[in-house]
Symmetry: D2
Subunit: 181 residues, 4 copies
């Protein structure tokens, strides 16, 4: 599927080129909500990433997320970012269809839309992804916690989600019939 | 999820009662297209059931299909019919959402709509279901064959599908970006 | 599309036959959330039906809802019930696809699932339907109120929804990116 | 919804900057399949754009398509491109949800994937959009023809679609239950 030239870092951009590009076009992302499902496919728990800032010490929560690189397919970007954030033994089950449950639009100014990203205008294709293996984030500052739908939808958790992703998380829960009252 | 009374044959109906009911209301079905997917979630092959008529000897092809019983949830009906048609070691991965890729409407007269079922007016919720295990249909007259998208979409196969399900199979392929030219 | 015989009351069932059928199979419904959208398609307000009980005087809220009759297509059932509940000048814009935003499962016992219907086991295909005309419910006891997403998602409204439909209404709002915090 | 600065040509890029950007990241597009629907929402005809090359005289067919500009929402990009290609009196009915029927991935090399775009790696969110008004493409070289599903799915038409969009058109037809045999 990929048409990448055999570049050692395909699609990668130096910082100045990425900054320049972010000022010109919306940047395409994929985003994934990792879930554990029971034998009937019903969502039992949701994997939320916990990130500690090394400078401020403030904790924030987020979803699996990353850019689609130049020459990379949406499926390739999805699996690459899942492996990056959940580790090589997560065994994510990618959806048979690339139609997302939501198209998440992030604008640079907070308050204009529920979702924002001060770095850029980003558009993310968001997917629910069941994982069956063990998850071990490879980055030191990252931890994965499994929450029940009730815990995930609690105001305490939603408010800690980066970039207003609490609204995206609620859409994810609603799309699988797991949004609690 | 189920609210079944502990009936030994829950939701089961004697033949006369089923016939009477079929003349009164549309009957709700679930239908599943079993697929094998690669590591990126892309559909590689499609499982089609081959049924030999014991009386006529004519072969026909079909999908996993069955009624939703009274008191049974859609997910329960889906797993029950998958196990019935694919055997206990198929390990189907039920979707996290019960939204189908298509609502298939079968009317009793062939020719009026692409889909028909001479026994009844039936409405089926149709799902793509990846299976990871070994499939062994439990009924003697049934055999499962794995076809590539190209084979599955060939006129020879589509024409053999029971009740006009060739059109439903093509919708299934299109919904996962696997409909060949 | 319909294959109805020219019955004066097609699909209609006498009370005893309907009761008998309800004890045998899940009954198929369609359900619609009428919405007003702006020029960009964004949902601005949601039409909720207000029903006053003639005997108890208690008010309850509900969505457009009705059975799919024998021989009737899902689209025909949808337009018939929209016209019944919103009147002949509502001008509903039926979706191009019959794939619902949710499959709503109602069981007879409250508390088992969020949705319940004491009369029966019902399965409803639920759709968002923009309406552009004037809505005048034909039944005396029925009134339509247009609520903003914020009003519709308020606990006061959600709690008044019949059969636990507050959860379905929240799924509807989430599916169009209009679920407020 | 927009967070555009009051730039006279918001999101517009000079040719050299666009070329540079196209070599760095996938470019986000929206794509629309204009349709006429009957009172039940069923698709009756599909609007295909016919483009005559001024230099070669060769005719090609395409869908409504255009970039999502920096600072522009998906809905804004959709309406802007619909008005650009269909004229101001088309009265497109934008979908209530921004979830596309397909995520169309175009790579620069023909043959690698069904869809290709020699200028760039592009990812398009594709929507079915009913239009109720009169369509008059504003560009001289463009003409809109309304085809039945049977005509649109004919090999002659599919083969003339730019960038392999015949496969996307077939997915569009399948998603609304209008893909003919």
């Amino acid at each position: 599927m990929s048409v990448r030239t055999p570049d050692p870092n395909p699609g990668w951009l130096p910082e100045f080129a990425l900054d320049e590009t972010r000022a010109r076009v919306p940047i395409l992302y994929v985003e994934a909500v990792p879930v554990r499902v029971d034998a009937l496919g019903q969502v039992e728990s949701i994997g939320i990433l916990l990130r500690g800032s090394s400078t401020t010490g403030v904790m924030s929560r987020t979803l699996v997320s990353g850019r689609v690189m130049h020459g990379e397919s949406v499926r390739e970007a999805l699996i690459r970012n899942l492996l990056k954030d959940l580790g090589p033994t997560a065994f994510p089950q990618l959806p048979a269809s690339t139609v997302p449950f939501s198209v998440a639009e992030y604008f640079p100014l907070p308050g204009v839309t529920p979702l924002y990203d001060e770095r850029q205008h980003a558009v993310a294709l968001a997917y629910i992804v069941p994982v069956t293996g063990e998850c071990n984030p490879r980055q030191d500052a990252l931890e994965l916690t499994w929450l029940t739908p009730e815990e995930a939808a609690s105001p305490a958790v939603l408010d800690e989600m980066e970039g207003g992703r609490g609204s995206l998380l609620r859409e994810a829960l609603a799309s699988v019939g797991a949004l609690p009252r």
